[in-house]
Symmetry: C2
C-alpha cells in the first residue's frame, strides 16, 4: 500500500510532533517505508528541520519527505500551490491523510480593541478559515476514489467563547463546522476528525499567550495558571485515536477525553 501524508503547519509545534509520532507509532499507520510525507510550512528552515528529524528517526531516504513553503495568508498562492501539489500526487497513492494543523492565534484583545487594526481580522480569517477550506476542497476533489483521512486541529475554544479570543474562537468554530459538513457529505472512503490537542507547551501559541498580556485579567489568569501538555503526548493520543478508528465521523475529541 502506497500512502501519502500531508501536514500543514509542519514547521514546529503540533505539526512536527504529529509527523514524528504518526510515522513511528507502535501501531505504524503511516511508516516512512511506504509513506510519502509532504510538510507544508511558512518558515522553510524550520520545516526542513522537521524533515531532518523525520528522516533521522527512521533512517529514511531524502525523497520520502517533501517540504513546501506555503503562506496561508495569500489565497491565490494557496490555491495554485495546492493544485500543483495534488496534481503531482494524483493517482499514485492508495491512502492519504491530511492534517489541517496550520493556524494563527490572532491578537488576544477585546473585539472593540481590534478596531485599531482591522486588517488583522481579514488576515486571520484568510489563514485560518478560507485557506483551510480551499485545501480541503481541492484535496477532496483530487482524491475522490481512494481512502482518505482528514484531521482538523481544533480547540476547546471552537465551542467555548472566551474574552479576548474572538478571532481564535470564531475561526475555530468555523473550522469545526466545516469539517462536520465534509463528514456528512462523504459516507464512504473518508474519515474526518476534529481533534482538540489541549493546551500545548512550547508552541508559538503558548509563547504568545504567556507574553501578550491580555486585556481581560480573568482570562489572562486562567491561561497563566494552566497546565500545559507536551506536543508529543498529544500527538501520540491522536495517533491512538486514528489507530483505534472507532471515532464517529466528524466528531470532536479532546486530548483530555477518556
Amino acid at each position: 500500500m502506497r500512502q501519502l501524508v500531508i501536514i500543514s503547519g509542519a514547521s514546529g509545534g503540533f505539526g512536527r510532533a504529529f509527523a514524528l509520532s504518526i510515522s513511528n507509532n507502535k501501531i505504524p499507520l503511516f511508516p516512512l517505508s511506504n509513506t510519502k510525507y509532504v510538510l507544508l510550512g511558512r518558515n522553510i528552515q524550520s520545516t526542513n528541520e522537521t524533515k531532518e528529524l523525520l528522516l533521522n528517526q527512521q533512517d529514511g531516504c531524502e525523497d520520502q519527505v517533501s517540504v513546501m513553503q506555503m503562506d496561508l495568508s495569500n489565497v491565490d498562492n494557496v490555491k495554485n500551490q495546492t493544485k500543483d501539489l495534488l496534481d503531482k500526487y494524483n493517482g499514485v497513492y492508495d491512502r492519504v491523510l491530511l492534517l489541517n494543523n496550520a493556524g494563527d492565534i490572532g491578537e488576544l484583545k477585546y473585539v472593540h480593541e481590534l478596531s485599531e487594526d482591522l486588517n488583522l481580522v481579514q488576515d486571520h480569517m484568510t489563514v485560518n478559515v478560507t485557506s483551510c477550506f480551499i485545501i480541503n476542497s481541492l484535496f477532496l476533489d483530487t482524491f475522490k476514489s481512494i481512502d482518505k483521512i482528514i484531521v482538523n486541529v481544533s480547540s476547546l475554544l471552537s465551542t467555548v467563547p472566551m474574552s479576548c479570543w474572538s478571532l481564535y474562537c470564531t475561526s475555530k468554530s468555523a473550522r469545526k463546522m466545516m469539517h462536520e459538513v465534509i463528514a456528512r457529505e462523504h459516507k464512504e472512503k473518508l474519515r474526518v476528525l476534529n481533534y482538540q490537542p489541549g493546551p500545548l507547551e512550547g508552541t508559538n501559541i503558548t509563547q504568545k499567550i504567556k507574553t501578550s498580556g491580555m486585556s481581560d485579567e480573568e482570562t489572562q489568569k486562567a491561561f497563566s495558571n494552566m497546565t500545559y501538555i507536551s506536543t508529543s503526548d498529544s500527538a501520540d493520543k491522536l495517533c491512538k485515536i486514528l489507530s483505534d478508528d472507532t471515532f464517529e465521523n466528524g466528531s470532536s475529541i479532546d486530548y483530555f477525553d477518556e
Copy 2:
C-alpha cells in the same frame, strides 16, 4: 431618549421586515418619533424602497431614515464607510441597536465541487464573517458608554451541519461564536442575541434554495418540502423577544422556540 437603529441587509427580506416591525411594534421599542434609522444595503434602489415603506407606515420625516449603499465584499469600503457612519452619530444617541442581518447564502454545492471556483470561498467569508466582525468592532469601540443591543441573524445551520451548505454552515457557526464572545466581553451596557429567524418565505435565500438544484438529493428534498414562514411573523417574534428582554446574553433563540 434619542435612539439609533442600524440594519444591514435592509434592501428586503428579513432586514426590511425587522425595520417595519421594530418601529411599529405594539410595545414600541424604537418608534420613528425618537429613533434614527440607518439602512445599509448593497442594492440602493431596494433599500430606498424600505425607507419609503418605513416613512409611509408612520408618517415620518425624510431625515429620520438614512440609506447607505454598502457592499460587504469590499473590506476596505466596509471599514471606511462604517467609520464615517459611526463618527457622525457618536455622542448623539442614548441607545443604539445593530442588526447584523446582511449575509450571503453561498453556493449550494459539495465542498469538492466548490473547487471549480474557489474565489467564492474568499468572497463568502469576507461578506459573512470578516465584514460583520469589522462592523461589530467599530460599533463597540464607538458606543462604549451607552446602552447597546446587537442582534445577529443566525440560523439553525450554525450548529447543524448539512450537505451542500458548507459555506453557509461555516460562516453562520463563525458568526454565532463571534457574538457569544462579544457577549462575554461586555458585562454592562450590552445585550447580545443570536436570533434564528427560521426558514423565511420570499427572500433571496429562499429563491436560491428553490431553484439551485443541490447535488445532494436528500437535502434538496428536505428544503423543497419545508414550510416557510413570513419575514414579518419572524421579525415580530424577534421584537417580542427584545421587548421582553429576558434572554440570556449571547444566547441563541430560534423562531420555533417556545
